[in-house]
Symmetry: D2
Amino acid sequence: MPLTPDQEAEIAAQRAAPRPTLRAVAEGLEARLHQAVPVLDHGFVRVIDYMGDDAAIVQAARVSYGRGTRAVQDDAGLIRYLMRHWHSTPFEMCEIKLHVKLPVFVARQWIRHRTASVNEVSARYSILDREFYIPAPEHLAAQSATNAQGRGAALADAEAERVRAILRGDAERAYDHYEAMLSRDGQQGLARELARMNLPMNVYTQWYWKVDLHNLFHFLRLRADAHAQFEIRAYAEAIAGLVRDWVPLAFAAFEDYRLNAVQLSARAVAVLKRRLAGETVTFEDSGMSRGEWREFTAVWG
Amino acid sequence: MPLTPDQEAEIAAQRAAPRPTLRAVAEGLEARLHQAVPVLDHGFVRVIDYMGDDAAIVQAARVSYGRGTRAVQDDAGLIRYLMRHWHSTPFEMCEIKLHVKLPVFVARQWIRHRTASVNEVSARYSILDREFYIPAPEHLAAQSATNAQGRGAALADAEAERVRAILRGDAERAYDHYEAMLSRDGQQGLARELARMNLPMNVYTQWYWKVDLHNLFHFLRLRADAHAQFEIRAYAEAIAGLVRDWVPLAFAAFEDYRLNAVQLSARAVAVLKRRLAGETVTFEDSGMSRGEWREFTAVWG
Amino acid sequence: MPLTPDQEAEIAAQRAAPRPTLRAVAEGLEARLHQAVPVLDHGFVRVIDYMGDDAAIVQAARVSYGRGTRAVQDDAGLIRYLMRHWHSTPFEMCEIKLHVKLPVFVARQWIRHRTASVNEVSARYSILDREFYIPAPEHLAAQSATNAQGRGAALADAEAERVRAILRGDAERAYDHYEAMLSRDGQQGLARELARMNLPMNVYTQWYWKVDLHNLFHFLRLRADAHAQFEIRAYAEAIAGLVRDWVPLAFAAFEDYRLNAVQLSARAVAVLKRRLAGETVTFEDSGMSRGEWREFTAVWG
Amino acid sequence: MPLTPDQEAEIAAQRAAPRPTLRAVAEGLEARLHQAVPVLDHGFVRVIDYMGDDAAIVQAARVSYGRGTRAVQDDAGLIRYLMRHWHSTPFEMCEIKLHVKLPVFVARQWIRHRTASVNEVSARYSILDREFYIPAPEHLAAQSATNAQGRGAALADAEAERVRAILRGDAERAYDHYEAMLSRDGQQGLARELARMNLPMNVYTQWYWKVDLHNLFHFLRLRADAHAQFEIRAYAEAIAGLVRDWVPLAFAAFEDYRLNAVQLSARAVAVLKRRLAGETVTFEDSGMSRGEWREFTAVWG
């Protein structure tokens, strides 16, 4: 259970009192505002606030005085055009603010996306909760044999249970010691900013993360991708579901032109053109590296 | 008159239909949303959208689940603390989107603030309007004798009128030629992306500008300052008035700790301490440069 | 002639005195350092400084202690891998600083790339030179009939000459008036920060522009592209030539994976797969918009 | 000993072969290039590369063709002027690239500075070393009684030893388990990207960090400050020593105008002016909050 009753009550209070606004309103996201979408064993993502909707993208691209009178169909066409031609600033005109609870090792990957604003719980100031990410057995996998930075087959049951026991045991012991070092019972009590260094990287932290839609799409393209580590992908997919409800036209264009798109190198274009002309092209004949050829044939056979 | 009746009608339509939202609402800014604040002779600033309010700053700083139950007084104290200690990320959690009409030479100064999103009317795509900034006589000033990049005394009436006549005449002629080059009447008609190069830098352009509160405060500190060129300062002051209505607590802290604050160098601190101890400190004795001493005594006598 | 004899002498002096360094040195760029590459009628690009080389990209990707002992072939393979998989930070580890002289309307497009550092000549402080971009007759084109933001056929000779006469005449008159307003002969003399607004947007300005290799590649992809306006493309191509001499391995990867690459949407992938399977796919049957189909068939027939 | 003999040999090799360059050279930093400055028990900072020197700041501010012929004294004056008036872009024209070895909890504070480029060792790809930060006894302090996010008095010897024993014991056990989970001896072996989550936050990581001088000064102002956590301050001070050798004029201006400067709020200015006029101002009479008054009197008595 990621949320306590008190926290649930605070969220319910936030959802109980709609107020009038003259701003753009995205009905699809209003329906989900403030509510936590569970991720992993103790984490969540929830939307705190947003700015703009599909129409706001169009309005900015046109630098218009009002919301315009064009049909939804025109908006969809323009949004697809903007996405196809790498126009980024109209998508920057939408903004979203999320509250995320996530393990520290995921936070370390996430924070590499620099074009966003973050307020994280400070473990200099606060005492972290006793909550750790322990992967479900089916998410424990062996080192990949072919990809130096990925995972391969799932661990056998016995090994998976050994791993989970280690992770649980070390986390509990580390947290016990964290509390023992902080305690003022019969001792001075270590400063929080020092005691925290004993916690393992699967401890949960929380932050507010605010990002514009263009940079969020970039995040999703990299982190909702099959090459991303499963744990951050779980967050990316939860966020993708929220974005779909927020800006459905822009999300559809993003799926078509980014998420499910294929980038062809000049060499790959040449090979495909030869194939279309009926030629059989072999690896030796392709000008590609082994890795590139493997990736190419995974898509094109 | 910066707005046409059609534009006024579009704005009125936007203000006519409030919708319910579960997001933070800033009443002070709702009252001003969409309406144009006139700046210079043909320019304006108007708020298109915003995210967050004073409470959102506090909420982000606390990474809280709800809006909290603290008193306004506590919020003010925390906001002042955050501003005093250069915490920037809670202020980044508020965002504002403006529609601005401004002369190109002002746009060129403005755009130097890189941490913002901009959609400008494209003169490759559209034909610009025949509108130019012609300074009011009282804003025409001579080159400053002491400050290489500032203005000094106002021009005498006759010289001011000569200048205004030149600016008006050259602008009109340039625009006539712009139209003549674009015309397809009896000729092919020059491409817009080329014809625009004939326009002078006091021609008006428009853009949507979106920025977070932290970066907006930075903009205001530099551009609402007495050293900023009058024309961009006019925009900064119009925006400052909007920000005051949006986040009054944060704006008050900004005024106290940034806009009206004084930065003392280590040398200046030493001089002030000697003065407080009753010593008379002279320029020769201060360790400061001429310029620094002039700026120091302007504040401290 | 973009450079005066004094400027040429300063550049010669900079090239005359090599000094020893323990940093990475790119021989190909040392040969071109400080020298101006002419662009348009009065502009240029010249390299003032740089940091890193191809090996530095590899060294950063490996977070290595030394420069490593791997072969150039390994470096090329790793660089291609990094480019193919959108790793950006190793390319950010190289940096270049350029001195550019360019028309203001080009500068206005250029500055939209925010992830760079710029120092521009200040027309508040300095008096700009009497230099304007007047397009060569063969670069004067009519508005495109199919592309709302592009140019079409070249203008006929007579129209081109009319346009050039207008541009020259208006620029000269505007500059005469600029000088007249600045003059202190028998009058106070208008402040520079005001007088500059009379200058047209084809006046030349200058700046120092510093950018990392990742962001420079992004700039080149957009600005060395056929859709970019000819005038900024001329600068992008001059810079591309310098980058090729600086980091030849990275530039080759950039050409293959970005500049000459093709992005296929999910819909386009589906159409190509059907074609590879021998099917004839029509526009009606493609799921694409008119514009998308036009762009698709331009590449694939 | 932070470096192995192999690493020392690689560094020596890099220092053994100076090469000629036509770029700006900073002698003071050349003398220190590549060499590791020890920080904490196993960490270090070393300069991999740099771009520019004090003269480059001046050259950019003047957008000059050569290095200029002005005296060093003029350069110092201009640099002080630029720093005093918050001109940031000339300082952005210098760049430095560091190789840093640091504990993960320090890395998490550090990475909040977004305007920099980072390549960190990937624990998805590599196995981290068995190295942990164990604070020296004199750096173990109790939670501060007055500052919720700081440390107070040093721990008594016995408590300090208990803490060190816990940190050492937990780190060793966590690392043993890390190796045990990774092992392929009689089991599949857990993926690296998962095993790493068991490591505590005092484990050492490494990265290449590249930043421009303006943003580095901002980092140093916040992290070489007395309010920063001791551990990151240790790194900031090591870097400050390198910057002093690199750009001595800019560093002196930074010390005077930033590091040792005092920011006075409008309220504080008013109080100081009353004091200078001979008045005795009390807290009740100051308009300041308790915290602000405490900070004010700490400087001014």
